[in-house]
Symmetry: C2
Subunit: 315 residues, 2 copies
Amino acid sequence: MRKALIGLTVAAAMLAGAANAQDRKVTIGVSIPAADHGWTAGVVFHAQRVAKALMARHPGLNVIVKTSPDAATQANALEDLATQGIGALVILPSDPDPLVNAIKRVKGKGVFVTLVDRAPSNNDNSVRDLYVAGNNPALGATAGEYIKSRTPDAMVAVIRGLPIPIDQQRQDGFDKAIAGSNVKVLGKQFGNWNRDDAFKVMQDYLTKFPKIDVVWCQDDDMAVGVLQAIAQAKRSDIQYVVAGAGSKDMVKKVLDGDKLIPVDVLYPPAMVGTALELTVASLYDQVPVRGSYILDATLITKENAKEFYFPDSPF
Amino acid sequence: MRKALIGLTVAAAMLAGAANAQDRKVTIGVSIPAADHGWTAGVVFHAQRVAKALMARHPGLNVIVKTSPDAATQANALEDLATQGIGALVILPSDPDPLVNAIKRVKGKGVFVTLVDRAPSNNDNSVRDLYVAGNNPALGATAGEYIKSRTPDAMVAVIRGLPIPIDQQRQDGFDKAIAGSNVKVLGKQFGNWNRDDAFKVMQDYLTKFPKIDVVWCQDDDMAVGVLQAIAQAKRSDIQYVVAGAGSKDMVKKVLDGDKLIPVDVLYPPAMVGTALELTVASLYDQVPVRGSYILDATLITKENAKEFYFPDSPF
């Protein structure tokens, strides 16, 4: 009975024309990881920011943002949201595979499901209606292309993330981009997408290699550690560092013309906002949104950095 | 100077927070083909429908929808729109390759470009910022999967479109889906995505084959011709027809439980609305939208058909 009722709510919401769409009452649940590091702190910020903007624009819309520290807690959060009678769910899973069944239970109730960033092994429309994600191979490729084109003979120290598929995709994209060029990779140690670990890896590189032209470290959090290590060692051979994400601090450095951070590569926590916008558009304006949406790993430069700068964000 | 000014307008629009976003003044140009057949008539309808809904919600937003009968006229329309100082362009090209240079000229002025459906040979971010499209291989696959699962031993008469890549992608998707099954293809003639041509091909099939279980004809316009031919021949062996697009008439038949049209496969002209929503979200809410968005070829059934039904649309 509940199932039928919720299904009807969504169908009714989708049926009505745009004319009196403003008055329609729909609740959307947004389930995201707790702010356990920089990027997820950004996810929380943008989920709340875009929810606020959309609620201001749609008086009948209610968006509930719930954060959960781990997969088990997030599964419970999904149950809670479903009980509250949501018409749609936007979820960025802390760990996708263990959450598949919980997500499917919500979807089985007729709830529209938008999955963000982290895909389960079987990422098809039995799990979600819409998938919005960043582009990991392109994140590596954009960095590789930039380095190759700006410093064709660069000797590059690479700091990888954790040995999981995302890291491999980024590394493969990078390797492909520099293949056949004169760019040389000095080393490829894992920094675990962690500031302190990246600091230690960079210290090690600085001891090992008397001359480093460029550092590629995939990630803005790791870049903080890398910059600290370079500053402490007072080394002036390093021309620049390429990181990735689009954090407030790195984008500010790009904006300010910092020579060590001339660019950044976008893998934006704000994608949760994009996912929420599409979910709302589907419910209020009856536009088709089911599908797969892969965001570009845009090169952030001094010229376009303002577009990606959020001074009020924690990240 | 113009370039710098327009660039600044967009950057400024993207910079301001969501708080006073409603007041921001931006003009978006929407350039689409004239309504030369059913699907493009749907594109015009949905572009105007969604533009109206978005302008009602964003008092500072002005959307100019321009239709053009051919590529040369559309290139001029792009010039006109650029002269009017647009902040973003949403374009569904009548023919993409001949329009690449005209699109690049607009993009070169700092205008955000969203490309819909028809991609040029070189569809990268030198041509557009965002790409929104339907899924041609999946359109064939969804039809094939449905036929295979509902009528595992069906003898299927196939009517193709025009001998261009889109048709081949659809056919390949279909062939892959039925591969290894007992579904048999009786014939594969071209109906040119045209109602009258499909009528003739179907007449020919009805003469040639004493028993046809299912017709797969890719396209709702062609389905109209197919249904006419079947009705005229008074043949009762055909169990059902699977078409594609999501036209008002076919979706209504699905809704009404018409036995000959039990399902349809989505390739929605409303995707121009999705593209416009994302473009507006980027300008007003500073969410990342650059990327590639491929919509699902959703199976439209009696259960979900309401969501895809637009009684006021010409298509």
